[in-house]
């Protein structure tokens, strides 16, 4: 994928590729299909009147591979859209923020997980500024605790296991 991307970053794709987006899309699907097929290959296929667990995953992966191949070929043969530019900032901070949330919610609770995830996530924006993001994250965490814990009584940990010793009540 990566070397392919570098090719299409140029404004003019080399003559062979008519639509770098479709080529990339096809390769992406083929990779997924191969991975799924590899994972499912051990499963018994069975027969048509007594299908095994592997029949459907394997055949779907095969179909998906064919679809991906067709798409990749169309990327070579038919003129179409070029690959869009991929940004790193958005995915890193947004998905990073979510991962932080999942790591912190049990251990430290919402009081920590909320602000940390939100401040980290806020950095995905070009207009990020520390003060605003921090104040906003703290206020919103308060609202979330009030809404989800106090009003709706969801079993979401507000103070996690690691912090409990500091809050004896």
């Amino acid at each position: 994928m990566t070397d392919h991307l570098s090719v299409t970053e140029d404004k003019k794709p080399p003559g062979l590729v008519r639509s770098s987006q479709n080529l990339g899309a096809g390769l992406f699907l083929m990779a997924i299909a191969l991975f799924a097929f590899w994972q499912a290959q051990e499963l018994p296929r069975g027969t048509l009147n007594a299908m095994g667990a592997g029949m459907l995953p394997q055949s779907l992966a095969a179909f998906l591979f064919i679809g991906g191949l067709a798409l990749a070929l169309s990327g070579l043969l038919v003129k179409g859209e070029a690959m869009e530019r991929w940004s790193l900032r958005g995915p890193i901070f947004i998905f990073g923020g979510i991962i932080l949330f999942s790591l912190l919610i049990r251990t430290c609770g919402l009081v920590i997980a909320g602000p940390v995830a939100m401040i980290f996530g806020s950095m995905a924006s070009d207009e990020f500024n520390w003060k605003e993001a921090t104040v906003f994250a703290l206020i919103l965490t308060g609202i979330c605790i009030l809404l989800f814990k106090v009003l709706l009584r969801l079993p979401i940990p507000v103070i996690g296991a690691m912090l409990e010793p500091f809050f004896p009540f």
């Binding site: 987006q21 479709n22 990339g24 899309a25 992406f28 699907l29 997924i32 299909a33 799924a36 994972q39 499912a40 018994p44 048509l48 009147n49 007594a50 299908m51 095994g52 667990a53 592997g54 459907l56 995953p57 779907l60 179909f63 998906l64 679809g67 067709a70 798409l71 169309s74 859209e81 869009e84 940004s87 900032r89 958005g90 947004i94 998905f95 923020g97 979510i98 991962i99 949330f101 999942s102 919610i105 909320g114 995830a117 939100m118 996530g121 806020s122 995905a124 924006s125 207009e127 990020f128 605003e132 993001a133 994250a137 919103l140 979330c144 989800f148 709706l152 009584r153 969801l154 979401i156």
Partner: protein
């Protein structure tokens, strides 16, 4: 007729208790509140708000959920009119004339007419569900596994035909959805499939997790990339109640929109998205002066909004009578119902009549609520829409995280959501439309089950799908639809419809 009225009165008896009215009100309110946020469509809204229904009994929870659903739908229209951003595919059309009206200082009238049109459409569609529910359930009992399978194939073909962009890509998305649905323990043999040895995947991928990743988080990243062009209306909102002339111009568009939307909504495979487009096209075709469209013609708001709401409501019909969710939003409703111990399908109506009719009555109640509570709150929505995205997206993010965590109290669900968000972002970048994938995923398990059953009954012969008359007709319709969509001239027309 008597049964029809009896059922409706049973339903209203359930829905009109003080408790349930309150739940419906809260549902509509928060549904709109979240649904109004730009970039948050009904799917993300419902997934986010699902946990708040957990504390109530099944009937109350479903009534609240119905409220959330309509609130989310109407919230999308509000955003479409007030800001130049369609919340979802179905309000794309509303943007065209609705936002123009808003710029001319007639936002209030546009919103008012949208609400009135939606209410009328909702009323008709509620009656339609009540009338069609029973006969269709009877029909469903005649369906064997082969018929079910073929019906779902037809639904998927519709989804392909109705998807935007390349047909090949849409087919690939369906296949990927079906493949994702096979993850987890095989129902018949108990073997783990494609779980990569991860314990949490043995129950399969949770639909809310997939939907939230792809429609919630991927969308945030996508929005951050495109510098904001939010065009919140600065003109006065104006009065809400449309004038005599507005009504005169809107009667027939609402009526036509309702019929078109209701009929398309029943089709499996997300026919509802087509309703507003169809309605807009019709109004434009028969208008005396088609140039008014796109410049703030009220018919261009009233008709499509009615169609939108009628479709949103009749989309419940395949779900409640056949147990087949026709689109991703309905699939989420299936998930919600399952959490409350109800498996949607023909048996709900017979085993749980209070719940079934109560929910149908509450749909109508939800529509009424929207009319009553939302119009006075427009000022609040406008304020909310002025919040800059840099503050809005961390809030959306944290609500999504809390929502997903609370569904199963599981941290790994939150991680999976991040993963699917990344997948969704990649798909968007590669020019795929993810909606058909979700439909494939939703129908996957049921399709596999029916396929296996049908093949056992036919001793492994695929001919059964063609030989059984009903199944054969359904497959025939699917093939014809696909072929028509591939005809070059139709393809062009399809592109025009979607880009207009």
């Amino acid at each position: 007729m008597e049964a029809f009225l009896g059922n409706l009165s049973l339903g209203f008896g359930v829905a009109l208790t003080l408790n349930n009215i309150f739940l419906c009100f809260i549902g509509c309110m928060v549904g709109t509140l979240i649904g109004v946020l730009p970039g948050v469509g009904p799917i993300a809204t419902i997934a986010m708000l699902l946990p708040i229904t957990f504390g109530f009994d099944p009937t109350g929870a479903l009534i609240m959920l119905a409220g959330i659903y309509y609130g989310a739908q109407y919230g999308g229209s509000t955003t479409a009119i007030l800001v130049n951003i369609p919340g979802e595919a179905t309000s794309v059309v509303t943007v065209l004339d609705g936002h123009q009206m808003a710029k001319q200082g007639r936002a209030g009238v546009a919103l008012g007419m949208a609400a009135i049109g939606s209410f009328f459409a909702g009323t008709v569609a509620t009656l339609l569900i009540a009338a069609l529910g029973q006969p269709l359930t009877k029909l469903a009992q005649l369906f064997g596994p082969a018929e079910y399978f073929s019906l779902m194939i037809m639904g998927l073909v519709f989804a392909v035909v109705l998807a935007r962009g390349s047909i090949l890509k849409a087919i690939c998305m369906i296949l990927m959805g079906l493949l994702l649905a096979t993850v987890g323990t095989d129902l018949e043999t108990g073997q783990e499939r494609l779980t990569l040895g991860i314990q949490d995947l043995s129950d399969g991928v949770d639909f809310a997790v997939l939907a939230m990743g792809i429609f919630g988080f991927a969308e945030i990243v996508r929005n951050l990339e495109n510098p904001e062009t939010r065009d919140v209306v600065r003109a006065a909102i104006g009065r809400l109640w449309p004038g005599k002339d507005d009504f005169r111009q809107s009667y027939f568009p609402i009526l036509r929109g309702t019929i078109v939307g209701a009929v398309l909504g029943i089709l499996p495979g997300n026919g509802a998205v087509l309703g507003p487009f169809a309605s807009y096209t019709i109004e434009k075709k028969i208008a005396k002066d088609a140039r008014r469209f796109g410049r703030g013609a009220i018919e261009g708001v009233a008709g499509p909004e009615a169609a939108n709401n009628a479709g949103a409501q009749t989309a419940f019909i395949p779900l409640l009578t056949l147990g087949i969710p026709p689109n991703a939003v309905m699939a989420l409703m299936v998930g919600a119902m399952t959490i409350h111990g109800i498996i949607p399908g023909p048996q709900v109506m017979t085993k749980n009549p209070e719940l079934f009719w109560g929910m149908i009555a509450s749909m109508w109640l939800g529509n009424l609520m929207l009319l009553v509570i939302n119009l006075p709150l427009i000022g609040l929505w406008v304020k909310l829409l002025q919040v800059p995205y840099r503050l809005m997206f961390p809030a959306i993010m944290i609500f999504c995280c809390i929502g997903i965590y609370s569904i199963n109290n599981s941290t790994s669900d939150v991680l999976f959501t991040a993963f699917f968000g990344l997948v969704g972002y990649s798909l968007l970048k590669l020019g795929f439309e993810p909606a058909p994938m979700l439909l494939g995923f939703v129908l996957g398990k049921l399709m596999e089950e029916k396929l296996r059953q049908a093949l056992i009954l036919s001793r492994g012969s695929f001919a059964t799908f063609v030989e059984r008359p009903v199944s054969g007709v359904l497959l025939g319709v699917a093939v014809i639809m696909l072929l028509i969509a591939l005809v070059p001239s139709v393809r062009k027309g399809r592109d025009v419809v979607f880009t207009e």
